[in-house]
Amino acid sequence: MAAKGDMLYAWTTDSGIAKKAECGGAVTTLLKYALENKIVDVVVAVKKGFDLYDAIPVAITDAKDLDQTAGSLHCGTLLMSTFIQKYLDGAKSMKVGVVVKGCDLMSLIELGKRNEINMNNVLTIGVNCGGSVNPILGRKMIKEKFGVDPDKVTKEEIDKGQFIIEYEGGHKGIKIDDLEDEGFGRRSNCRRCKYKIPRQADLACGNWGVIGDKAGKATFVEVCSDKGADLITKAVGAKKLETSAADPKGIEIRGKTEGAMLKLGEKWRKKDFTALRDNLWETINKETSRCIKCYSCIDKCPVCIQIPFDGRADDIMVRPGFIPSDPMFHLRRFAHISDSCINCGQCEELCPAEIPLALFSHAIRVEADNAFAPKLGAAPYKN
């Protein structure tokens, strides 16, 4: 019987999954069990597309298709929440199981609050995330900094502060700090992220803290909800999964890893926000004056839900047909998301005008969170 708060090592009993799995195969096994037993109707995960730099979201209804999703792709910079919102009816008509990193989970929660997603129908299996890498910059980094043809790389991972690649003829690791100082490494929003273990998921999984004979053979699972506990209990009962209590030393190591990541996130916040401080208005003005109004920063933002233009009064300060967009186009968005930007980075990553949008909105939220209280949410009146 698993219970909320448990810290476990878990591993699959399925030899097929075990063979492909990176650390015990618990996540794939739990998803498979949930799908086969109709706990969920569909599983949303990421599979490898053209190569290991190409992450594609998939909606799987047949459990046998799940094995294509095993393993991590650090060049996957996707956000799974808006995918569920837009293409799976916000989980309103189906039960969805989804593998989430921190930004996926925060954005699911925010979309749930906005009635865009029915979180009662969503089973979340969290995975630790130290950050992701833009695929094209990642390839360039491997070519220039590792001196390796990116097409020859067979595996990449981030471990112990290093970006490590395996390729035909060897393996190589370089300290993330060094790579990032030279403009490579993780996306800038990921560097500032301080949500590394997604504890608001039903289960928070990962390989941090798996030590001893279980290293590489089991998944660390923190049970974070009754729903998560129930899934573990049932999967163990059905003999699909085996568990043991996590080694206390492992728990301590996991905590230390997380602590180191949080410290790094804090370092990057200080660095990025300080650089922005002195010429804030000028910088925002200069950068946003390149805006070509593709609306990606709004359409792909999990906390910025646009009221449809049909039946809405004309904007006074944002004129249609003009580029660069009128300043209010961005100012009202920054204001709207000021208390809820989760720093997922989608706005910045998808901006064709190279505007550092996530930096601006993240800075606003962090500074405001630190300075003002309470947060009251929607008002009962209109003005």
Partner: protein, 686 residues
């Protein structure tokens, strides 16, 4: 699960709009496209898209799509079976050929459709009707680039890729509003700016791209040659030309030097102060690596080819060709304007620019296609075909073009099309041109077919089928091959896009190595790619030029004024261009609701001083008139255009092309779309 009940899948494909060729994912659910999602793995755009790209799926399932063949009977279109429609088309084309010979037919294909459609269309014209009267709409955008760069460098294509601008030390943008017309190429300029690479924009208008530049130089419309000559005079005067490069790799220096001596100070023509001319000339010449990026501001004039050669002159004079960070790069307008030309949908060349006049080339094609007597003559070009309607040309086949809106002088086009005995239009919507057709054949859009688009950096990007066409609409390859079969033509047993591509590869040395298998990679292949082992050629002319003697050619070219200049009756110069929110005649973007909402009707930019003098307020209606017609539009009063200059975009029916001039560039047959004389009349009212 069958394909049509899948709850969701991504299909990676290429954007159907401009020549940048961005990769995007079409999201397919239950057999319908339900959205576009970013493809971050693309080296071209890294998932980023412009306003048109993110909405490019919205027209796919429009209720306005053509879903069945239509035949005009007693002046009205009635639905017909494919059998009936194709029989009628085959019969009438054959009858025209029998009676009037190969010059009695005209074939025109869009640059919006896939390479495979363009190739099989020109093959159909050449094999079926022994005619070279086949052309595509590159003629009215970058025809002068093909002609001019071929003369200067021996290849009519961009020398370097979009991202390569980041390797440059100086970016000179001339007659291109990349941020609006090629937004994801514009992004490279934005990246360059952030890296501190100096950017100069030469444009009569303060465009979105000019706003991005460090230096914006306003010059008088259509005076490029005078300005370039003046720049080159000062470069030579200061000894800043690349003497070694000229000695080793270039012909014609003395000719150029002699000509530019007359342009020491040409401010009276181009309007740029001498010190500014010197400054820009010296910065371009002194930069270690300098690139020229240009667009239709250079080409859409009666001096188009010479304007392009002037860009070639600047680059050759300063040794800025053949390595990273340099070159001369036309930003090709449409998604497949490079490819349509590459495929030989052109009146004087087969695929890969193999000249029809060369007997060996004809013999090769005759053998490959199982045909005899392919013509050696230069076929009739796009707008010249319109001029010949009812005279030499009696029947015309138009694939995916809307000449009534997009060709110069709409009234002329309409009158000419009416003179045809028989007109076939193959399209996805009932366009303004369809009114003039005898038969309309419903084809497929980009999401409904496999194939390739070749972007402005010669990159052959895959187009992948995501959904089935609506109703009875058919893949365009199927339509052409069925017609060919009805006419008893051999060598048209090519059921798939790959079959057509391989048919093309087999006769095209410059693309032989670009197999579909290699094109699967997100990086795709930039031609030339002569062998299956060849990785492609992102940068042209590294060792030698594509000319017969391997050398680049400098030309002494004198300035010529446009065909029609202002006078007392028509005192304003009209320039034309594009908007970020629309694509050409809006057949597709007009059906994307947010694009329509942004700009639902045409407008004309009018200088503040001119508006004040004429008593015209911002946003009120005005009537613009030229010798060829008139249009009503809203005035947008702004300093973005100089006094005496009016700017209008080309997207709206009964719009700017009611005014434009049909006068042609003698070398490339490009009509003077970007310069004519007009009058402005206040109408008033909002």
């Amino acid at each position: 699960m069958s394909e049509n009940t899948e709850i969701m899948k991504y299909v990676a494909t290429t954007c159907p709009y401009c020549g940048v060729g961005c990769t995007l994912n079409l999201v397919v659910s239950n057999g319908k496209v339900v959205g576009v999602e970013p493809n971050q793995r693309s080296p071209i755009n890294e998932g980023k898209l412009c306003p048109k790209g993110v909405t490019c799926w919205e027209h796919i399932h429009s209720p306005d799509r053509l879903t069945t063949p239509l035949i005009k009977k007693d002046g009205k279109f009635v639905e017909a079976s494919w059998e009936e429609a194709l029989d009628l088309v085959a019969k009438n084309l054959k009858a025209t050929y029998d009676k009037h010979g190969p010059k009695g037919l005209g074939f025109q294909t869009s640059c919006r459709t896939v390479n495979e459609d363009c190739y099989i269309f020109q093959k159909f014209a050449r094999v079926g009707f022994k005619t070279n009267n086949v052309d595509n709409c590159a003629r009215i955008c970058h025809g002068p680039s093909v002609a001019g760069l071929s003369l200067s460098f021996g290849s009519g294509a961009a020398t370097n890729g979009f991202e390569d601008a980041l390797n440059s030390d100086f970016i000179l943008i001339w007659g291109s509003n990349a941020v609006e017309a090629h937004p994801l190429a514009g992004r490279r300029i934005a990246q360059a700016k952030k890296r501190g690479i100096p950017i100069a924009v030469i444009d009569p208008r303060y465009s979105m791209t000019a706003r991005l530049a460090d230096t914006w130089i306003r010059f008088n419309p259509s005076t490029h040659i005078a300005l370039a000559n003046s720049m080159m005079y000062w470069i030579i005067k200061e000894g800043l030309e690349d003497k070694k490069f000229i000695t080793d790799r270039v012909n014609g220096f003395e000719d150029l030097k002699k000509t530019v001596e007359n342009y020491a100070d040409a401010e009276a023509i181009h309007g740029v102060p001498l010190e500014t001319v010197k400054d820009i000339a010296f910065r371009y010449a002194k930069a270690k690596n300098a690139v020229i990026i240009y667009c239709l501001g250079i080409t859409e004039l009666t001096t188009g080819t010479d304007n392009v050669r002037s860009m070639g002159n600047l680059a050759l004079l300063t040794g800025n060709v053949g390595r990273e960070g340099v070159g001369v790069n036309p930003l090709r307008g449409q998604n497949n304007v490079q490819g349509a030309c590459d495929m030989g949908a052109y009146p004087n060349v087969y695929s890969g620019y193999q000249k029809c006049e060369t007997a060996e080339n004809r013999a090769k094609m005759e053998k490959a296609w199982g045909v005899t007597d392919l013509p050696d003559w230069y076929g009739v070009t796009l707008t010249e075909q319109i001029n010949q309607c009812g005279e030499e040309i009696k029947a015309m086949y138009i694939l995916g073009l809307n000449p009534v809106v997009t060709y110069p002088s709409s009234n002329h086009v309409k009158a000419q099309l009416q003179k045809l005995d028989f007109l076939v239009v193959q399209d996805i919507f009932f366009t303004e041109t369809c009114e003039y057709a005898d038969v309309i054949l419903p084809g497929t859009c980009f999401a409904e077919k496999d194939g390739t688009f070749t972007s402005g950096e010669r990159r052959i990007n895959r187009v992948r089928k995501a959904v089935n066409p609506p109703g009875e609409a058919k893949e365009d390859i199927w339509i052409i091959t069925e017609l060919a079969k009805k006419m008893g033509l051999k060598s048209f047993d090519l059921p798939t896009a790959k079959d057509v591509w391989d048919d093309m590869r087999a006769v095209t040395p410059s693309m032989f190595g670009a197999t579909y298998e290699k094109l699967e990679r997100p990086e795709a292949i930039c031609w030339p790619c002569p062998t299956e082992e060849h990785p492609g050629t992102p940068i042209l002319h590294r060792e030698k030029f594509g000319t017969a003697d391997g050398k680049g050619n400098l030309f002494g070219i004198d300035y010529r004024p446009p065909a029609e200049v202002v006078d007392a009756e028509y005192p304003f110069t009209l320039m034309t261009g594009r908007l970020i929110f629309h694509y050409h005649s809006r057949t597709q973007t007009g059906r994307a609701k947010d694009m329509h909402r942004e700009v639902p009707e045409s407008y004309a930019q009018i200088n503040v001083e001119d508006a004040r003098r004429l008593g015209i307020k911002n946003n009120e209606y005005v009537k613009l008139k030229s010798r060829r017609g008139e249009t009503k539009t809203r005035a947008r009063v702004t300093d973005d255009v100089g006094p005496g200059v009016v700017y209008m975009t080309m997207h709206f029916a009964e719009g700017v092309n009611n005014l434009t001039n049909t006068a042609l560039d003698p070398m490339s047959k490009m009509p003077e779309l970007k310069h004519c004389a007009i009058s402005i009349e206040k109408i008033g009212g909002n």
